[in-house]
Structure formats: C-alpha cells, structure tokens
C-alpha cells in the first residue's frame, strides 16, 4: 500500500511527502490531523488504483474535517476492496504533476522506465489517447542508469527545464532503489513539483518480487501477487499455490500448468472451478491434509477434482496421503473425484480401490474426472 511504499522510499532516500500516520478509526484520524497542526490529506489505503475517483482521497483543512472525511472513507468499497485504514499526512501544495515508474519488462528481459509529463491520471489512458507523450526507455540491467541518461529521458518526456535536474536525481534513486529492493514495480503517480519548488513522490506503488523475499523479509507485505483473500493468505503461509475463484468445483493437482488445464476441462464440462491449487512436487499425507482442508474450507465447494500426474510425485504416495488426509478430516459431505496417472499410478489406484472409501470416486482420464466432478457438484446443489 501507499504508506508502506513511501516508508520504503524514505529508507532509500527518495524524496516523498512528510511522514503521515495510519488511522483505522475516525478518532485516530482526527488526532493525527490535530498533531500535525496543518491541513492534511486523508487517503484510503487499499491495494487498487482509482482511489481518487472513488472518493478515497480528500484534502482537509482541520481535524474536524479530517474526522468527517475519514468517516466517509473508512468502510468505502473501492473496486471490491473495503477500506480498513487511511493515511493521514500533511498536505503538500502542488504546482504540477507528472508520471514516473521503473518496472521489470518481460519482453526485453530487462527493465523499463516510463516517464510522462501528465501525472495523477491513469497512465494506460494517456498511452491510449496520446502515446507520443509517454516515453518508454529500455534499461539493460548490466548497464544500469546514470544521471545523464535520466536527464535525457525526462527531457524527452517534456518535463520543464527547471524540474529536470531534481527529477533526474530522484529517478536515479528510484532506479537504484528498485534494483536494491528486488522490485518488479516502483511507480510514482504523481511525481509533483510543489509550490515551493521541490520535486517529490506524492504517491507510491511498490511491488516486490516474491521470489526475492529471502533477501528482504521485511518487505513481505509488499510482495506481488498479493493475497487479498484470507484463504489465499493461509495457503501462502503453508507454501501452497492457491487462487480463489467463483465456482463450486474444488480443484487440486500437481504442477501449475496441469492445474490450469484442469480448470479448463472443468469449465468445458459445464462447471465452474472454485479455486486453483497446486500442491507442487511430492504430495504426502501432511500436504494432502493441508490442501484438502484448504479447498474444503470454502463453503461453496460441492465436489473436488484431484488431478495428479506422477513424475517425481508417486501415485501410491498420493493415494496414501489422500486416505490419511480423509482420516484427519473426518466425515466430509463432498465427494472427491481422483484421477491418477504417471509414476506408480497403478499402485495408487489399487490402494484407493482396496480402501473403498465412501468419499472417493476414481476417474480414468482428466476429462472423465471433470465430467464426474461437475455432475456431482450439480447434484449436491
């Protein structure tokens, strides 16, 4: 969120707004405004854009006004995100607004700097209507960015001459900080010139590469692919790849591609998948128990399709893990449709057949398994 990004900016010596305070109640917002003793901004802290348009960012002259605006903003729904906290910070007097970002670019397999003289608006929109205004510069990670190149980029982006020097210094710090933090995105929208002539980041959007958190445990909350669902957050803690979806057929499999394909066949069989869950390699009793209880804790799930293609993961191990998981979970109303193939699949199927568990239905292929699971979900509904 913005306040975390700005805190990181301050650590990296990137000029930004004076430090504000987080408020989760109207009283806290009022107190913060009173302690600053100057006009403040009250800003919704949510993991989505378009806050201004949604009424989530307000200028307040005094503590009373801060209390009133915080009351409006707390609990507001912004693109499906409920505002639970606001940032109260001393307001800056703005003269002009620009746009600046550094991101990792998949196509060039390097970094990209985007600069634009229009700020405070959606950059995608500017890019659609006036693409010539948006300067996109490829940066070779083995070369990096120096001050001269930064000045050149910002000059080409038509930033005013009296701003370019300060903005270029900020850009170099932004780039260095982006690399140092293992970020995939550092966005400043808007970058502003204040009425007293300073160039600062008025807003921040930071996304950290989740694979690099071993180097930055303190930045975990700003990692990309943020879990905005409580089940997703729980899965993350357990090291499972889980994405919540809207349907009623739970899906569990090994390997991201195979699970995505499983969602596809469930959909093609006329059903709606409830989730994506990749158990990864090796599916022992503990992992199967965690995975199954996660999928089943979604109350909308009416049947579960378990699709395992053994490579390194062995079919017999999965079958035993599944039976142990069912033992741990006790009676469940949902049926589990199981498709096993690959390494030791015959042994695995035999274990399941011998166990003759009332909750388990086996399937020969993933398409047949999907049809069965979708049928069971419909019957249960």
């Amino acid at each position: 969120m913005e306040y975390q990004g700005k805190e990181l900016f301050r650590e990296l010596d990137i000029p930004t707004t004076p430090r504000g305070e987080i408020a989760t109640t109207v009283a806290e917002a009022e107190n913060s405004a009173a302690s600053f003793g100057v006009p403040v901004m009250v800003k919704a802290q949510v993991l989505t854009g378009g806050r201004g348009k949604a009424g989530g960012v307000k200028y307040c002259n005094d503590p009373d006004e801060a209390r009133a605006r915080a009351a409006d903003i707390l609990g507001l729904d912004i693109s499906g995100h409920t505002v639970e906290k606001v940032l109260v910070e001393p307001a800056s007097d703005l003269d002009e607004e620009y746009y600046l970002s550094v991101l990792y670019d998949r196509t060039s397999k390097g970094y990209k700097i985007i600069a634009c003289v229009e700020g405070g608006v959606e950059i995608e929109e500017v890019n659609r209507t006036e693409p010539e205004k948006v300067i996109k510069e490829d940066i070779d990670p083995t070369v990096g960015l120096d001050l001269d190149r930064a000045k050149d980029i910002l000059t080409r982006a038509s930033l005013p001459d009296d701003v370019v020097d300060d903005a270029a210094q900020l850009l170099v710090k932004l780039y260095d900080g982006f690399v140092k933090s293992d970020a995939t995105l550092f966005e400043v929208n808007p970058l502003v010139k204040t009425t007293d002539g300073r160039v600062i980041a008025l807003d921040s959007k930071v996304s950290i590469d989740s694979n690099a958190l071993f180097r930055h445990p303190d930045l975990a909350e700003q990692a990309e692919g943020g879990a905005d669902d409580p089940l997703e957050a729980k899965a993350k803690e357990q090291g499972l790849q889980y994405v919540k979806l809207d349907g009623d057929v739970g899906v569990l499999g090994n390997g991201a591609g195979l699970v995505m394909a499983t969602l596809d066949v469930v959909n093609q069989a006329g059903g709606e998948p409830a989730n994506f869950l990749d158990v990864g390699g090796g599916a022992d009793a503990e992992k199967m128990t965690q995975s199954l209880s996660l999928v089943l804790s979604d109350s909308r799930v009416r049947s579960v399709l378990i699709n395992i293609f053994g490579g390194i993961t062995r079919g017999d191990e999965v079958a035993r893990g599944m039976l142990a998981a069912l033992e741990n979970l006790g009676d469940i109303p949902q049926k589990l449709v199981v498709r096993l193939d690959g390494t030791n699949a015959d042994e695995g199927r035999k274990i399941l057949d011998d166990a003759n568990h009332p909750s388990i239905v086996t399937a020969d292929t993933m398409v047949a398994g999907a049809e069965t699971a979708v049928g069971l979900a419909a019957d249960a509904g």
Binding site: D264, F309, I312
Partner: protein, 304 residues
C-alpha cells in the same frame, strides 16, 4: 534423432544434494552420460551414489573432464552464480531446473549470457543455450534424459514437444504414447517470466532436425511468445503438422496461477489470455485444442 541432447551429451551436475543426486542417478540409469558433480565444499571427494568425481566448481570440472552440458539443481539463492559459473566454464548447454529464482537475478544472467547489440536487441548466435530455470529439463527418448521428466511415459519417435509446464508435458507425452506416438525430443522451457530459451529458440531447431516431423507446443497465459512463434511457424514451416494447447482459459486477470510467469496483466497490451492466444494461433493455421487431450488427439489424427 533429436535436438539439444543425444547420446553424445556429457553432463556435469551442479547441485548434488538429495534431489540432485536422486535425479542424476535416474538420468544415469536411463543411459545419460553423467560425468561428474560440483559441490563447493566436497571437491576431490567421490560422488558415491553415482561413482563419479566431485569438483569444487564447474571451472575446475572442465579442466579435468570433457563435458558439454550442465544440469543445475542448486537452491534458488545460489542459482545465478551457478549459471554464470557454467557459462564461464564454457559449457554450451546449461539446464537450470531450480525454481524460485529472483527475477533480478535472472535479468542479470540473461543479459550477461546474451548481451544486447547496438540496436538494444539480445543476440543468441554463438552463445550458450540456457534451458529454464523452473523447468523439468529435457529428454531425447532412447538416448538421454537431463532433468525430471519421467521416461516411462514416452518412447522414441518423430514428434518434437516443447512446453512451459512440467506436468502438462508429461500429460501430453502420455497421451501421445498411449496412441503409440513417440517423441524426438521433449523440452520443458519453464514457467518463469525470464527463461533462457523460449518457443522461438526451440521450435526452429525442431524444424531443422531431420527426424522431427511434427511439433506440439504447450503454452499458458501471460506474455505473447506463443503468437511470435505462431507467426514463425506460419511463415517458415507451413506444411509441418503442428498442434498447440494454451493452459488457462479460465484464469482470471491479475492473478498469478502458480507459475511466476503465468499471469494476465491487467491493463496490459492484450494478447496474454488463453483465448487471445488460441484465436491468434488459429488464424495462423495452427490447430489449438481446448485441453491437453484434444491437442494430443489433433496431433494423432494429423499423423494418421
């Protein structure tokens, strides 16, 4: 025949912990020439499970052994240095199986392996081939297996298979195998946003391989490489039977579906969804199945 690996591939293994040893042993038992292992603290010892020497670094290994490929299974924090070490040792084929490497590390690795020309575009001519990371490796059935791919679900044949996903690769191989269709080489290129070799680095090799008569490729949501290789196929090998599958028709935008690279960017330039990719490939005359089984069936029909 095959591409990238065959009976003459001589493999060094960087990362000989439990996992590395387990898979190297499997590969050796399959007939792959596994020559030696690398471990920074065990140089001079014998790798008992495989009865092979251990060297302290890839550079030291190539001073004593004739190797032309390296398989890397070191933990993610050390993968960047391992790949660069293999490169410094002059190894031509580097297969990195490691999952979870930071994107900045791979951005460095990629741009060091493939320096940009004056036009800013990286060139791979005369440079080493990097497969992966975050991939299952590759197999040329009957001669060589470097990585995780289960050899039991395939046989030698004439279909070249390339995929971003490990288990989906196995699924496709299995379905083709059930119909008696074998594989020349199967390459798992990996699911990360930065991978050493993409479809465009593999499929032209299949086109040049006299034994590969047909190609199956398996993509997924995210990026637009599938379209790029689709155009190449359309322009260069229009008569070769090609079938494809793109995983993730039901994936919501903005959500990472397991693989770090499998995400449809919100507000991006488009073309990153499975439906976009299927449409683009279909327009280029490439058969795209709605699921792995349908794609396998399409290929089997074409070969009949």
């Amino acid at each position: 025949m095959s591409i990238l690996i065959d009976e003459n591939t001589r493999v060094l293994v960087q990362g000989i912990g439990n996992q590395g040893t387990f898979h190297a042993k499997r590969n050796l038992d399959y007939g792959t020439q596994i020559i030696a292992g690398v471990h920074p603290k065990r140089g001079g010892e014998t790798w008992a499970e495989l009865d092979r020497p251990i060297y302290a670094s890839a550079i030291e290994a190539v001073e004593h052994e004739d190797v032309n490929a390296s398989m890397i299974l070191v933990p993610a924090p050390f993968a960047k240095d391992a790949i660069l070490e293999a490169h410094e040792a002059g190894i031509e084929l580097i297969v990195c199986l490691t999952e979870g490497i930071p994107v900045h590390d791979m951005a460095q690795v990629y741009n060091i392996l493939y320096p940009r020309g004056d036009d800013g575009v990286a060139s791979k001519k005369g440079r080493p081939v990097l497969i992966g990371p975050n991939c299952p490796g590759l197999i040329s059935p009957g001669t060589s297996n470097v990585g995780f791919i289960p050899e039991s679900s395939t046989r030698p044949g004439s279909v070249g298979l390339v995929s971003r996903s490990g288990t989906l690769t196995y699924q496709l191989m299995h379905e083709l195998n059930e119909a008696g269709v074998g594989i020349s080489t199967c390459v798992g290129i990996g699911g990360d946003p930065i991978i050493g070799s993409d479809f465009m680095d593999v499929i032209p090799r299949f086109a040049e391989d006299p034994e590969t008569e047909a190609i199956v490729f398996v993509g997924e949501i995210g990026g637009t490489e599938e379209q790029r290789v689709g155009r190449w196929i359309h322009e260069n090998i229009p008569d070769t039977p090609v079938a494809a599958y793109v995983a993730g028709f039901t994936a919501p935008p903005g959500k990472q579906m397991g693989h770090a690279g499998a995400i449809v960017k919100e507000g991006g330039d488009g073309g990153e969804t499975a439906a976009d990719k299927k449409e683009a490939l279909t327009d280029l005359g490439i058969a795209v199945g709605m699921n792995p089984s349908e794609t396998a069936q399409m290929m089997i029909e074409r070969l009949r």
